[in-house]
Subunit: 309 residues, 2 copies
């Protein structure tokens, strides 16, 4: 059970683990991209009526495109009522918990059975640095993945072998990815990391207000996170919203501008269509070295590259 | 279908992918740790008689403990006869293909449907660097793992989007691990890498001959690869092979010496029991900076640490 706005990794995981993608049911999201708990309840009833046994809900804290945060408390209520595992994909938005000002976006995450969090995203730890946090205290991962390969995980060591965690992960040989997070945390401190998050939100606010004042820029919606989604409407399309080919022509703008910025070497900004919406740009304001001058450059550069369209 | 000497990752994968470990059948290995093709044939018949449909054989080129190379050509014949997928786990031994002198150990690998190879092992590329090589030319990985997430893998780009390989792998955000191999290969050349392999084999030979000349050292077997497996028999146990508690006491030697070397900070050598064999040391001669002096030090240090046992 997951919203259609969730990351494609959930579907991929279902296929990979042998559950099959038919086992994945999509829950409706509202116009801001948040899962609708009433529809979740409805999908569970439908699945049960078909004889299925729904067992897991994957909510998202920070969707990839819109940066939406699902209403975790309401979803936790549904999970509790139906005895379902409550997973939160906070890969993108989990770092917001470090900010006293913004952590309310994740209210209810403390009720999750499992949380996925990628410090390599918003916190800018080096790729890859992913954490899976579990409520479980029974060594679940070891019970799932452990194979007690005696040629690798000797039990007759001189120290407490429960410190050897290698057997509980999926991989065998792997990097010590958590060290990057630990070092960064020691170097920056909790306050330093909080400042990064708060600055990202503040800079996002600056960019959004700039977009509102400039002709030819149109927000997809007011962001609640650091994903700024907007269209650049070039001069030839301004005020032509009523033309039948408007959406089709608008769709071609982002790919064209992307080609130009890549060939110039000046910027890299992602774009995508989304549901019924034509291709729009998605600026992620995450890099802690970004300044207002970078935001100004970004908008000026789009104007410059798109002035003849 | 795999030999009992194979890496535990095969069992783990079967569990993880939802096939279940009961689907994994173990084939007998000979006293050198090589899969016995006649027993593979027998296990396939047994499985078919039970109504199962065997579909994959996983052979190993370079087992973890003994460094054994399965007879790939004979196994390929069996796979061909039964229409089974022929996978070679060459994670450890695959790099030997770079040596004209030693690549015969992998004769038959050219008939594999898939090969796993870890340049981060014998070639010492930085962790992690793993390759999965496929005979398939139909973009199988994309067909298995691709989800065409339109918000990530746009099709309306200005270049050939088949160059975007992200959708065919299991992960989404991941490091460009292949770059390490490419850079190393450019820097060292094929001949440089070949020299590393050949040196590792030569230094292994030196260590083995030294072990044979020293009192208290006993080879588990003549190695065919760079895994040197041996017992250190301390003074108090020499010539006591007939005592009923010999094996039990010998088993305690490696853990005790391991504790001593770790606490001294002088060496790190793995040990393990293996089938009916008591704990023995396993030295892997892989690091290209190793010299004969290091081999001498290793044996001297074991003698020093174990002289009172």
């Amino acid at each position: 059970m997951l919203s259609w706005q969730c990351h494609y990794s959930i579907n991929k995981g279902a296929a990979f683990l042998g559950l099959g993608t038919d086992s994945v049911r999509v829950v409706k999201a509202d116009e801001r991209g948040k899962m609708i708990p009433e529809d979740l309840e409805r999908q569970i009833s439908l699945a049960e009526a078909e004889g299925s046994v729904p067992f897991l809900v994957s909510a998202t804290s920070g969707t990839t495109v819109l940066g939406a945060f699902d209403p975790l408390d309401a979803i936790a209520d549904v999970c509790q009522r139906h005895g379902m595992w409550f997973h939160v994909d906070a890969a993108w938005g989990g770092s917001v918990l470090l900010s006293q000002t913004h952590k309310h976006l994740l209210d209810g995450i403390q009720r999750a059975d499992s949380v996925a969090w990628n410090p390599h995203k918003l916190l800018a730890a080096g790729l890859q640095c992913s954490a899976l946090l579990l409520r479980d205290t029974s060594n679940l991962l070891k019970r799932c993945h452990g194979f007690q390969a005696s040629y690798l995980f000797q039990q007759d060591k001189f120290y407490d072998v429960t410190l050897d965690t290698g057997d509980k992960v999926v991989q065998c040989g792997r990097r010590v990815d958590c060290l990057k997070l630990w070092l960064m945390w020691k170097a920056q401190g909790g306050q330093g990391l909080e400042r990064r998050i708060d600055q990202a939100f503040a800079l996002t606010r600056y960019l959004v207000e700039e977009i509102k004042t400039r002709e030819g820029f149109e927000l997809v919606m007011e962001p609640e996170f650091v994903n700024v989604c907007f269209w650049f409407v070039p001069p030839s399309l301004r005020g032509k919203q009523e033309r039948p080919d408007y959406k089709e022509r608008l769709s071609q703008v982002a790919p064209m501008l992307k080609e130009r910025m890549v060939k110039e070497g000046s910027m890299m900004i992602g774009y995508q269509p989304h549901g019924p919406r034509a291709n729009f740009f998605r600026v992620i304001v995450a890099n802690p070295t970004l300044t207002r001058a970078d935001m100004d450059f970004l908008l000026n550069e789009l104007e410059r590259l798109g002035q003849d369209l």
